[in-house]
Structures are given as structure tokens and as C-alpha cells.
Amino acid sequence: MTTTIERPSSATPAPRRQQPGVGAGAGALNLLNGTFLLFWGLLTALPLLWAIVSAFKTNTEFVSNPWGLPSVPRLDNFARAWDAANVGQYFLNSVIVCVISVPLTMVLGAMAAYVLSRYEFFGNRIIYFGFVGGLIFPVFLALVPLFFVVRNLGNVPVVGEYLGLNSLVTLALVYVAFSMPFTVFFLTAFFRTQPTSIAEAAIVDGCSHFGLFFRVMLPMAKPGLISIGLFNVLGHWNQYVLPVLLVDDVEKRVLAQGLARLAASQGYRADWTALFAGLVIALLPVLIVYILFQKQVQAGLTAGVLK
């Protein structure tokens, strides 16, 4: 090996220095790799662009010219989707469910995780593994009994009319319950890494257990809460099987479920562009959140797997 390892000086432009390990075909290989990357990028982006473009077409254009651009952007597709196809109502329902379920998941998950990670008491391990064990259970196993549990909740006196099937509140509570395993698992690990000295100082200063949690520990756990919060927002917004099981009423359907039902009924209605406008309405909030917070979203979701 007669390789010279000299640093290329910035003054003299290094004339195509052959690097060790870089074969003659390196340029071609770089190009090939670039092509693969570009190919997958197009494969990912094109269906989405197609959906967005289709949302502005007329139904005739949609069928006759699937790859083309609309002659005039048809904004009335969106109006039709929002009103006639009920997407507005679905959107609102999804928002209502998430507004209840996500903060509740965070608060309850953080409370349980904090107690389980910081206090020693009889049954601590049992409860912890009870929560975390839920990670391995497929949600499908619970579907049949869950349906009856929720239906029977409707018969409970006084609160029954707000719970039961076709209730957004119950749906949110069920989301909370099914998010517990991961939230508790993630936040327990997070609270364990927090230094104990600050907690001790707060106690010396006369802080109660409750004050310690709400005024010291929660603010300190903010990065962890943001990660798991984003994870839960996306998870709850995109949930499919639970609303299909628990909500049937047209007025109570959430967005994912409503769009799927709309697509299933297109066979005879053939108003595709309103459906695509609905898809875009569903896609935009997620797209905006993602573009604005892409670093946090990527970090939050991947941290979820790595923990």
C-alpha cells in the first residue's frame, strides 16, 4: 500500500486525489445510490401530491385525466366534503376526543409513573408490570369484552347517558386506558433519571408530596412529556379500530373512521373529489404539525421505540 495520507490544503485545489478504499466506480456508485434515494422519495411523495391535486379537480377530470392538473382549482369540493360528506363534523369529533384524551393521558400517566418510579410501597412492582405488560397484548384480544364493558356503562345510573356506546367521552377514556402502558413505561424511565437532590431540597423547604409533583417534578419532566405528548396526539388522532368498535352513530364518528366509511360508500355515489378534499382536510393539520415540529416529532416517535 503506497497511500499518502496528506491533508488536502485549502490553498491548492487537490487534483482528484485517489483516496484509499474509494474505487474508480465511486462516482457511479454515488450516482446509483442517489437514484435509489430519489426513487423512494418520489414513491413517498407522489401519492400524497396526487391526493392533494385530485382534491381540486372535477369528478370528470379525476377519472379521465388521473395524472394531469385540474383546469381550474375547484374549491367547492372542500365545501361539499365539509358539509354534505360530514367531514366537518368528523373533524370536530376528532378534535373533541383528542382534547379530552391527550391531556388526561399525560396527567394520569405522569401521576402513575411518578409514584411508581419514586415511592417504594407494597404492590409497586405488581402495578408497574400490570401497566407495562399491556404493551405486549394485542388490542384485538380485548375488543369483544370491551364492547360489552362500554355498552354496560351506558346502563349506569346518572352518568350512563354520557358514557356507553356512541359517546366521545367514553372513546376518549378508552384511548387513555390503552395509552397507559406506553406512557407509564416511558415516563417511569424518565422520572428515574431525574436527580433526587432537587426533590429533597423541595421537601426540606416544606413542599408537600402534591406540591413536589406539580411544582417541581412536572416542570422538570417537560422534555419527556413533550415527546410522549406528540406520540399520543398522533396515536389518538389516527386511531382506527377503537372508534370502529365503539362508535356507529354518523354524528359521532371520528375523522379516520368517517373517511374510511366515506370511501367505502363511494362505489355508488362516485363523488371522488369530495372524498379527496376530505382526505386533504384530514391530512393538513398533521402535515402542518409535522413540518413545524419535524425534529421533535421524529425524535419523539423514535425515542418511543428505543426506550
Binding site: R17, G21, M111, F121, R192, F213, T302
Partner: protein
């Protein structure tokens, strides 16, 4: 590990002030989460295991205990076997293809370029990561509906068939989701499409934490790209790959939303695209065989457990420490 133990030991020996009102606090904080979790998660799981041993149809108030009858029936049911076979295909194909593609793209993006300044990611890798990751944040329902139309017949605006016809390949334009030979594989493709980006980002994060010096050393030793990947990159991200694989296998078990939206509750043409989740849902809420449906759920649980345990066993390798 050592640090965790110290922290827990400290937490377990609180000063006298911390002891005051400790149990009230614990009960207050745990009561609501445990109650909600017990009601909607634990109790249904336990009930499901019991239901799977009964012949409950939902019409009668009582149910007869039938032991393992449902399980015996399951394995004589051809439709269940189709669903089971499809789930096994999902378990094997989706993680394998996704992990391979993920590793390939991630290594391109983070260490793919051998430029003048040594090993680096290709140009524009940040943009690629943003685009690749996008399907991950979309609802499965949106992806399902979208691809239902991508694969649709030309009369319903399907772009694949529209494109094939446009370039004169009419004979290739088949009813993708209406043909028993293709329907399920279309679902498999869509699942891979929507999963890959996440694993690209996951693996590239792992690859970026590998010190550049190791790559420089490999370069100096004249290692080819392939060798570098196999001998340097892969062993150093193996832990992540392993976790990712198990997570993918669990994700792939749940093809319910994809199949439900793209192929319908019957599992597509001749029920060829049936999966366990769909079979369970149909068994329970179309046929009202709740005991039988619960038995399918238990099979899903066993399958998940087997996959997790087997894979963690097989994949256990010598850990490579970086520090």
C-alpha cells in the same frame, strides 16, 4: 444500570419529611389511572381469555364452558387458516423488507458518501428524511383510502392502471384489489411503504452516533462499502435493528385498518386477504360467535409472545460497546 440502582436506593430511603402522608399521596395518585386501566384494559383481556373457553353467542345471557373446543374448531376452519397464513406472511415479509430497505436508505443518508472529507451522508439527506418519514405521521385510514384509489380500476380514477394504459400496457392493468392473487400483496406493499420511513430515521439516528474515526480507519484499511456496512455499521446498530424488528413484527400483526379499508370486512376477493384481526372482528360482530372470536384473539396473543421471545433469543449477539 448501576446509576438506576443508586437512584432507586435513594428514593427508597426518604427522610422523615417524605414519609409524612406518603400513603395518602400514593393512593390518590394511583387510584384513577389504575381504575381506568383496570376497567377498559385489564378486565377485557381477562374476560376475553375466559370467553375463548365458552360457546357464548351474545344472544344468551349465560354461556356454556366448552374447554378448548373453540381452539379445536379454529384449526379445522379453512378461513381461519387463510388468515393465520396471511398473518405469518406479514410477520416474516413486512419486517424483513422494511428493515432491509430501512438499513439501506439509512446507510446512504448517514454514511453513504465517500467524499473528500471522508464518510458523510449524501447531499440533501435532511430533506429525504423529512419526506421519508411523512407516511408515519399519517393516519392508517388516510393511507388506506389513498391507496384504495391508487390501486383502483381506471373507471374509478386509479392512477396505476391509468398510468399503465397511458403507456400502452393495457394488459398489465388488472383489478389489483379485486384479484385474489394480488389483493393481499397490495396490502403488504402499502404497509411496507408506510413503515420504511420511520425505520430510516430510526437507523440513521443510530448510525450518526457511530464515531467517524471508525469509518476513517476502515477507509484506510481499504474496506469496500459493502464490507464497511457489514463489519462496521451493522454490528454497531444491531441493538436498534433488533428492537426495530420486534416492534415491526408487532405493528405488522395489526393489519386490521389496512385490510378493513382497502379490502373490506370480508377480507377482499374470495376472502384471500383475510387477517386475524379481521377474522376476529367478523366472527364477533357479523357472526356473533363471541367465544370463537375471543379464541382468535388468544391465538394473536400467543403469536405475538412467540415472536417477541423467539426473536430476542435468536438475535442476541455480543454487544459492541462504543466507549
Amino acid at each position: 444500570m448501576a446509576r438506576q440502582q443508586t437512584v432507586r436506593r435513594r428514593a427508597s430511603k426518604p427522610g422523615p419529611a417524605l414519609q409524612h402522608g406518603k400513603y395518602t399521596f400514593i393512593v390518590v395518585f394511583l387510584a384513577v389511572p389504575v381504575a381506568i386501566y383496570g376497567l377498559f384494559v385489564v378486565s377485557p383481556y381477562l374476560q376475553a381469555i375466559y370467553f375463548s373457553l365458552t360457546d357464548w353467542t351474545g344472544l344468551t345471557a349465560t354461556q356454556e364452558f366448552v374447554g378448548f373446543d373453540n381452539y379445536v374448531k379454529l384449526f379445522g376452519d379453512e378461513q381461519f387458516l387463510v388468515a393465520l397464513k396471511n398473518n405469518v406472511i406479514l410477520l416474516l415479509v413486512v419486517p424483513a423488507v422494511t428493515v432491509l430497505l430501512g438499513l439501506f436508505f439509512a446507510s446512504m443518508l448517514s454514511v453513504g458518501r465517500r467524499g473528500r472529507s471522508g464518510i458523510e451522508g449524501v447531499r440533501g439527506s435532511g430533506v429525504y428524511k423529512v419526506v421519508y418519514f411523512f407516511p408515519q405521521v399519517l393516519s392508517v385510514a388516510i393511507v388506506g383510502v389513498l391507496f384504495k384509489y391508487v390501486f383502483a380500476p381506471t373507471e374509478a380514477g386509479g392512477i396505476i392502471n391509468g398510468g399503465l394504459r397511458a403507456i400502452g400496457l393495457d394488459q398489465l392493468a388488472v383489478a389489483w384489489l379485486g384479484d385474489p392473487n394480488f389483493a393481499f400483496w397490495c396490502v403488504v406493499l402499502v404497509m411496507i411503504w408506510s413503515f420504511v420511513g420511520f425505520y430510516v430515521v430510526l437507523f440513521s439516528a443510530a448510525m450518526q452516533s457511530i464515531p467517524k474515526e471508525i469509518y476513517e480507519a476502515a477507509l484506510l484499511d481499504g474496506a469496500s462499502r459493502y464490507t464497511t456496512f457489514l463489519r462496521v455499521t451493522l454490528p454497531l446498530v444491531w441493538d436498534t435493528v433488533q428492537v426495530g424488528w420486534v416492534y415491526l413484527a408487532i405493528q405488522a400483526m395489526d393489519a386490521f385498518a389496512f385490510v378493513h379499508i382497502m379490502l373490506g370486512i370480508s377480507g377482499g376477493p374470495s376472502r384471500s386477504g383475510d387477517v386475524l384481526g379481521i377474522a376476529l372482528y367478523r366472527g364477533a360482530f357479523s357472526d356473533y360467535r363471541f367465544g370463537y372470536a375471543s379464541a382468535i384473539g388468544v391465538v394473536m396473543l400467543v403469536l405475538t409472545l412467540v415472536v417477541a421471545v423467539l426473536f430476542l433469543r435468536i438475535a442476541r449477539r455480543e454487544r459492541v460497546e462504543l466507549s
